[in-house]
Amino acid sequence: MSKLCTLSDAVSRLIHNGDTVYLAGFTHLIPFAVGHEIIRQGKKNLTLARATPDLIYDQMAAAGCARKIIFSYMGNPGVGSLKVLRRMLEAGQLEWEEYSHFGMITRLQAGAAGLPFLPMNLTAAPDLERVNPNYKRLTDPYTGREVMALPPLNPDVAVVHVQRADEHGNAQIWGILGEQKEAAFAAERVIVTAEEIVPEEVIRSDPNRTIIPEFIVDAVCHVPYCAHPSYTQGYYDRDNAFYLEWDRISESDEAVQDYLKEWVYGVRDRAEYWEKLGEETHRRLAVSPRYAAPVNYGEY
């Protein structure tokens, strides 16, 4: 059964006001186009969960989509701080819930695995445990020593961008894997966006590459360049210049709103956004090929 639909349709149908959403991707494959579509559709009161909120949650928070943020590193990767979120947290305008990276992905892993909690070794750093009551202590029944635990995180919706998927939702990723698989299995609903929609024979030629199986996927959207200014390994480079530029834009609320007006509200979809970026940017982000060595599965 084909689950192909437009991104606008997927967001309107599967993401509701008040949902907890997880736009997955650790620096790689961040689904910016989906964040922008959520902004355009004016979704409200979302809980935005991501290990690294990155620029996309700065933008969504600035657009008024967010009620709360769940995170483990609130920085502009390689640049500095996320100034919109920082201002909102310092001003008490946004609820938050905070973990270390390992705590965050432990919650996702528990959610994906259908477990009521997962243990972690102690870290001797007490303050995050003190301020976040989700951290609990347990006694290891084998050694009598204490461990920390966290409960599952099961977002209402996970969004995962991938290099290629078939129309059923079987999806393949290479490069940095981050928490893509865990977020998809933990979530109640899954939107897959893909650089390329390929015949299922392509997916089935390399089953070990598949991260997400079709039957947990609700919508498949063909969204080339979905990840810009983040990147898609093998398809286009990270736009480091924009990450630096955002550091300046996000200095002021006015500049942020101007940015949203021009680059989010002012374009219909990702195709128009990409075209608007212009040929010089396209050239700058283009990548020459470097192929994986062949792999033979054998005809059995």
Binding site: E90, F102, T106, T123, L128, E179, Y243
Partner: protein, 253 residues
């Protein structure tokens, strides 16, 4: 070549020298990345670089500008999920060295990367732990690189993001965490190392720096090691590799 050098270059080169051949290092971006790459090109050709993004044995062709830069992946030995990197690699004890950073480092090497002021009503909201809470606990050894400034070296951190020696070496040992904790803090003035109680004391000065400069820029009564030494100045070769091969655009100079 200009053999004068910046504070950053001085810190990078001295941190690189602390790495041992064969170390498996959890690398961050920025100056720790440069220190590791410099060590690989000098005395530690078998240094094995892994990244919290799940990249193992990276050999970047260009200077990575974020921890998830695609140049880290192309040509790497392996890629794994974040859950795997924190469990199979870090928690399992497969990581020799971690680099840590933060807005505050206190007398016992504890680090604050979370908030200045009250947690619920922060004066300054910092990025938070990321991987550092677990790196500080579970890597065998940790190093810190930071400018030597009084506000960065308080007597006690406002928020305890990752563990140094807590209130002293005994407390860390009693906590049962596997790593040995911070082994050195490299600054633009010199190097601090933990004494037998886990208190950071001045063990080395860079040429031109003085004990007084270090004391003035430290928020606690800084002790000086009896064996205080002067670090070897950066060599021309170290500076050449750093400037010509690793950071030709001078981004981190």
């Amino acid at each position: 070549m200009d053999t004068a050098y910046t504070s950053s270059e001085l810190m990078i080169i001295n941190a690189a020298r602390l790495l041992r051949d064969g170390d498996v290092v959890f690398v961050g971006v920025g100056i720790p990345n440069l220190a590791c790459n410099l060590a690989r090109r000098t005395h530690a050709p078998n240094l094995y670089m892994i990244y919290e993004a799940g990249v193992i044995g990276a050999r970047p062709n260009r200077l990575p500008l974020s921890i998830g830069d695609p140049t880290l992946v192309s040509g790497a030995a392996a890629v794994c999920s974040m859950y795997d990197i924190f469990t199979l690699y870090l928690q399992r004890g497969n990581v020799d060295v971690g680099f840590l950073g933060g807005a505050q480092i206190d007398r016992f090497g504890n680090i604050n990367a979370t908030v200045i002021g009250d947690y619920a009503h922060p004066k300054v909201r910092l990025p938070g732990s990321g991987g550092s809470m677990e790196i500080a606990a579970w890597a065998n050894r940790c190093y810190i690189m930071t400018p030597h400034q009084k506000r960065r070296f308080p007597e006690r951190v406002d928020f305890h993001t990752s563990a140094g020696f807590l209130s002293g070496k005994g407390e860390r040992q009693a906590s049962g965490v596997r790593g040995k904790g911070p082994q050195a803090v490299v600054t633009n003035l010199g190097i601090l190392e933990p004494d037998e109680n886990g208190e950071l004391i001045l063990t080395a000065l860079h040429a031109g720096a003085t004990v007084e400069m270090a004391r003035e820029n430290t928020g606690w009564a800084l002790k000086v090691a009896p064996s205080l030494r002067i670090t070897e100045p950066p060599t021309a070769e170290e500076l050449r590799i750093l400037r010509e091969e690793l950071d030709p655009q001078g981004i981190y100079r």
